[in-house]
């Protein structure tokens, strides 16, 4: 599927909020240190690449916020970072 002409490509990252133990990040940190990497810290999150059929950049941004709210993140623990790529 090729994006339609009016398609916007978004990248949305979802991270655990500061202050919550990032268990996966911590495990990763330990594993990397074990392997001998000079790690200071590591955090883990999810990333989504979404192509949206909307008319404008603003609309894309708004839809992204709504997607975070409705599905991608739970605001109690998650933080969304939206990036409109093209």
């Amino acid at each position: 599927m090729a994006p339609r002409s009016q398609g916007y490509k978004l990248k949305i990252e979802v991270w655990l909020k500061e202050g919550l133990v990032d268990a996966e990040g911590k495990t990763l940190e330990e594993a990397l240190v074990d392997l001998g990497f000079p790690i200071e810290s590591a955090k883990a999150g999810r990333v989504y690449e979404i192509i949206l059929n909307v008319e404008s950049r603003e609309e894309a941004g708004e839809e992204a916020e709504r997607m975070c709210d409705k599905l991608l993140a739970n605001p109690v623990k998650d933080r969304c970072v939206v990036d409109i790529i093209e």
């Binding site: 655990l16 919550l20 409705k70 599905l71 991608l72 993140a73 605001p75 109690v76």
Partner: protein
């Protein structure tokens, strides 16, 4: 006779034993695919109680419970609202608890939200734990200390603010907390508290006392033979009995 609906979607996988537990407790259980409700082949209001069972709805993709909650929220929100408003009990077990939290039905009081975050151990964990009753709910009867198995990777309850934990505690809405075998507080200590849950919360009730979410699996602690010798007698049936008594009121 009391009729209890047990919901499922792809990946829900504790529906059979949950239905069995409901029948053991003395009601009729009906496993319904959410699609049947969406297509109008079934009506939630024909049932007196609702259970969202454990499992991995949609493979816990995105976040445990999120996709099922989105599906329920977008297509069945009115039915579920009506069901709850008619004061019929709703029980969420494990993945079902996650769904109730995602739907915002729990904790269910002003100004507070919750989430079930990944376990502090960062992996799935299956083990028997001790639960201490520290609150009250129409969906919980049983001994003050009992054993049940957990099996999840996202069971660490976090509230939107520390005051919410206090509020829930003082209102008696924290029905069960993880504990040590002697009944003393787990105090966050692994493996008694298996996931790092704030306040050792294992089960939560809403203020109307008719909606409960519980991470451990009561349906796996119904029979003697299911329960390891040292952790007997099994007490899971109490939760289903309570659910049925609560449901009886709308008969």
């Amino acid at each position: 006779m009391v009729r209890v609906a047990v919901l499922r979607v792809p990946g829900t996988n504790c529906d059979r034993e949950t239905a069995r537990a409901i029948e053991e407790a003395g009601a009729e259980a009906f496993v319904l695919h959410v699609g049947q409700l969406e297509r109008g082949e079934e009506d939630l209001m024909n049932y007196h109680g609702l259970v969202i069972p454990g499992g991995f709805s949609y493979g816990d993709r995105i976040r445990a419970g999120a996709v099922l909650a989105a599906r329920l929220g977008s297509k069945l929100d009115e039915q579920i609202e009506e069901f709850a408003a008619s004061n019929r009990p709703i029980l969420g077990i494990c993945n079902g608890f996650q769904v109730l939290v995602e739907l915002g039905l729990l904790p269910g009081f002003e100004g507070c939200r919750a989430a079930l975050a990944p376990n502090e151990s960062a992996h799935f964990e299956c083990r028997w734990v001790w639960l201490k009753k520290t609150g009250s709910c129409d969906l919980a009867i049983g001994p003050p200390l009992q054993a049940m198995p957990i099996a999840h990777s996202e069971g660490r309850l976090v509230f939107s603010s520390p005051s919410c934990l206090e509020k829930a505690g003082s209102a008696g809405l924290i029905v069960y907390r993880y504990a040590k075998p002697d009944g003393s507080s787990a105090d966050g200590e692994y493996p008694y508290n298996p996931n790092g849950s704030q306040g050792d919360v294992a089960a939560l009730c809403n203020p109307s006392r008719m909606i409960m979410g519980i991470m451990p699996h009561p349906e796996r602690a119904i029979y003697n033979w299911q329960t390891p010798l040292r952790l007997r007698p099994p007490a899971g049936l109490g939760i289903f009995r309570a659910l049925i008594s609560a449901a009886e009121r709308s008969l």
